[in-house]
């Protein structure tokens, strides 16, 4: 007879996966959980774990893929996270059992870790990985004998090939407390070597002979010249792929959002809500989500490259250069990625193990010239050198160089001041060379894309709405001139000249947009701040354009063309020609060489990307660092723009 209440399902068994780096732990996790996994960040920690679920014998298991560690008692963030997890101090992550993943080719190190977690008073199971590699090295590591030696279930499993997964799930379900006799025995120094001897014939049989092919590849990839050339080629190939392959999906996303905006505009009544939806939400999200293809490609290609074992070697090549500026070799990839967009660049700093190195890299990454700056560079460089393609090209390249130099010098300053302290010494385990696991790379990409989209859908969306509001309110009355033009357009249309009417209406719209820009809160802020920007030669219109481009740099072009009365156009040369004619109230050129140079320097160095600030906050776990980044970059940009303007004035380019 039913009691009338539905029995509550038993909570899933939560299992924490612990293991050394590069033992195939994450491959097992991916095989078990697939896409049913998400990245979990924990307050106060810069390292993350992945949490996923899988079914075992009809019951649900929750797996926590903890970061790879060499020892649990080290003063490193990943060791601390594991200590907290195993000690039950991690909110929502208290494990019921442990799965210790041990590399069969490196039993000594695996057993050392097993010994340190055996005292955690939780049931344990062991997964023995790399048994195929051990076999090729003439080793026979018997999981059954290891199970007897450790007193807990132990099975061989291979996540990459999906071998031994069912027995592994059964072993997890049958996990047991480590027997007290084993815990006691494991405290002896000789226990590890005795155990290895018993199950694998002793430590000296563990394939210590070096591999000639690996030696040769290592010699090439870490060679000062050849290694550098290979690295440049690899990175060039990745960036070519990112820019080329992402082009089509980015266009499709842009067009998709544009169509959605047009559809909403057409189907909803004109008003504040429609403006919020179309200009604030759809327009704002479009500006961020458009970078999703680049982000996916970057993470997919980096995951493949990392899986081959090459990236660990490349880190040593770049370490020679980067360490002079207080950055590790691993910082090169995130900095290079930031040339596409700072968002994936900052997200990819997770490759950097040392938290201080990682923080320094995050703080300087937005100095690298991202693709959003390109439109502004093209416009300002064309205004500076309208008749010399060579000088324009040189100035364009100089913008990239200036950004990179500013990033490196900032890193050097920060590492000697606010992020003082020694970096973790550069010692890396060099994984064996192998073919990459495409499935694992796709899962990594999926995970990163979800993180990015969640960020875009929360913090970035909120920022977009706020920025829309300060640009759209208060609503400005259309100026009398615009009303008159509209009336003339009606007459002209009635006379049969549709083209003429269209031109008049476009002119009227430009005047109305200019009035809105000037009278909105954003415009008022720009007007109030004009005295601050006066030393850079900026009048009120340029100040408004600079302030609105703190939303995103690419806004500069459309704002300034509207404000000086030309109306936006896709033709760079035409826009530059028209802007070159623009004058100030006193009749002097608005874009004189000194002001344009200062403006160009400002745009190279200033932090004008709110989504980047949001990602910095997320990755550093604090607004403090995001605001420091904004303040430092703005100050450096202002100061150097002012200096650049003074120098050009000194050289006679003031008018």
């Amino acid at each position: 007879m039913s009691s009338g209440t539905t029995p509550r399902a038993a909570p899933p068994l939560r299992v924490a996966m612990v293991g050394n780096p590069n033992v195939g732990k994450t491959s097992l996790f991916n095989r078990l959980c697939g896409v049913r996994a998400k990245t979990a960040n924990f307050p106060g920690s810069t390292v993350e774990a992945r949490v996923g679920t899988c079914a075992a014998d009809g019951a649900e298991l929750q797996l926590v893929d903890l970061p790879g560690i060499y020892a649990i008692d080290l003063e490193l963030p990943e060791s601390k996270l594991c200590r907290d997890c195993l000690g039950g101090r991690l909110e929502g992550c208290q494990p019921d059992a442990l799965l210790v993943v041990i590399d069969a080719t490196n039993l000594t190190r695996g057993l050392r870790l097993f010994r340190s977690v055996a005292t955690a008073a939780r049931p344990v199971a062991v997964a023995l990985t790399m048994t195929d590699l051990a076999r090729t090295r003439g080793l026979s590591v018997d999981p059954a004998r290891l199970s007897v030696a450790l007193g807990v279930p132990c099975v061989a499993a291979n996540g990459r090939e999906g071998v031994g997964i069912e027995p592994l799930l059964a072993a997890i379900r049958g996990s047991r407390d480590v027997p007290a006799t084993v815990v006691a025995a494991s405290t002896r120094d000789a226990w590890i070597d005795e155990t290895v001897l018993a199950i694998a014939g002793g430590p000296n049989s563990l394939g210590a002979d070096t591999d000639r092919l690996t030696d040769r590849l290592d010699a090439a990839f870490t060679h000062p010249v050849l290694g550098g050339a290979v690295f440049v080629a690899a990175m060039a190939a990745i960036f070519f792929a990112i820019f080329r392959l992402a082009e089509l999906p980015m266009t499709l996303i842009e067009e998709g959002f544009a169509s959605l905006g047009a559809l909403l505009s057409a189907s909803l009544p004109e008003g504040a809500l429609t403006s919020l939806l179309v200009d604030g939400i759809v327009g704002g999200l479009a500006g961020t989500v458009v970078f999703l293809p680049q982000i996916c490609l970057l993470f997919f290609l980096l995951a493949l490259l990392e899986d081959t074992g090459y990236l660990a070697r490349a880190a040593f090549v770049m370490d020679r250069v980067m360490c002079r500026f207080g950055l590790p070799g691993q910082a090169f990839v995130p900095l290079l990625s930031s040339h596409a967009c700072a968002l994936p660049g900052i997200m990819s700093t997770r490759l950097i193990p040392d938290p201080k190195d990682r923080l320094a890299t995050i703080l300087v990454a937005p100095f690298m010239s991202c693709s959003a700056r390109v439109g502004v560079y093209v416009l300002l460089v064309t205004l500076l050198f309208p008749d010399s393609g060579f000088l324009a090209g040189l100035a364009f390249a100089g913008c990239y160089a200036l950004g990179a130099v500013a990033a490196l010098l900032t890193a050097a300053i920060f590492r000697r001041t606010i992020i003082k302290g020694r970096s973790r010494p550069m010692v890396l385990e060099l994984p064996p060379y192998r073919l990459p696991d495409v499935r694992a790379a796709l899962l990594t990409t999926y995970d990163r894309a979800v993180v990015f989209l969640k960020n875009a859908g929360s913090v970035i969306l909120a920022i977009c709405v706020v920025m829309w509001w300060i640009s759209a309110y208060p609503v400005a009355e259309a100026p009398a001139e615009a009303v008159a033009l509209e009336a003339r357009a009606v007459d002209v249309e009635a006379s049969g000249d549709a083209d003429g009417a269209g031109e008049l209406r476009a002119e009227a719209e430009t005047l109305a947009a200019r009035a809105q820009q000037e009278q909105s809160f954003a415009g008022m802020i720009g007007g109030a701040l004009q005295p601050v920007f006066a030393p850079l030669g900026l009048d009120e219109r340029l100040t408004v354009a600079v302030m609105t481009s703190f939303i995103a740099r690419e806004v500069f072009r459309s704002t300034i063309t509207v404000l000086v009365g030309q109306g936006d156009s896709d033709d760079d040369a035409k826009v530059a020609d028209e802007l070159a004619q623009a004058t100030r109230a006193d009749g002097s050129r608005l874009f004189d060489p000194a002001t344009t140079t200062g403006l160009l320097v400002f745009y190279v160095l200033a932090m004008q990307c709110l989504p980047t600030l949001a990602v910095t906050r997320r990755e550093t776990g604090s607004w403090k660092w995001a605001l420091l980044q904004l303040g430092w970059m703005s100050a450096v940009a202002y100061l150097l723009a002012w200096l650049a303007r003074l120098i050009v004035i000194g050289l006679g380019g003031g008018a």
Binding site: A71, D73, L206, A208, T222, C323, M426
Partner: protein, 102 residues
């Protein structure tokens, strides 16, 4: 009266001065406790012998330790003192006894 015989001091070289193919064991370091703990956890301590795969004073040092390859920056490697040895295989000793230097 026979002359007092003393054991010669074993040769200790920075890791960066070893050559490819040399086998050696760690014989001390000027590392901080924290760095030493990290290297110990990675398997590189006074109880182990290793084979040099790549040594260079200007570039990274690569050593083979059991089945693991470790890359060390030159700054770190030059602070690790080693004692070259002629052990047949690289690996950890079960009893913690140091192999005799040849």
């Amino acid at each position: 009266m026979p002359a007092l015989m003393t054991e010669p001091e074993p040769i200790r070289l920075p890791l960066t001065q070893l050559k490819r193919g040399d086998r050696a064991m760690v014989a001390g370091s000027s590392l901080s406790d924290e760095d030493r703990a990290v290297l110990h956890a990675m398997g590189l301590d006074e109880r182990c012998t290793f084979t040099v795969c790549r040594a260079s004073s200007g570039g990274p040092c690569i050593i083979q330790l059991d089945a693991t390859r470790l890359g060390l920056s030159p700054d770190l490697a030059k602070r690790i003192l080693t004692r070259p040895c002629d052990c047949p295989e690289a690996g950890c000793r079960a009893d913690g006894e140091l192999p005799t230097a040849q």
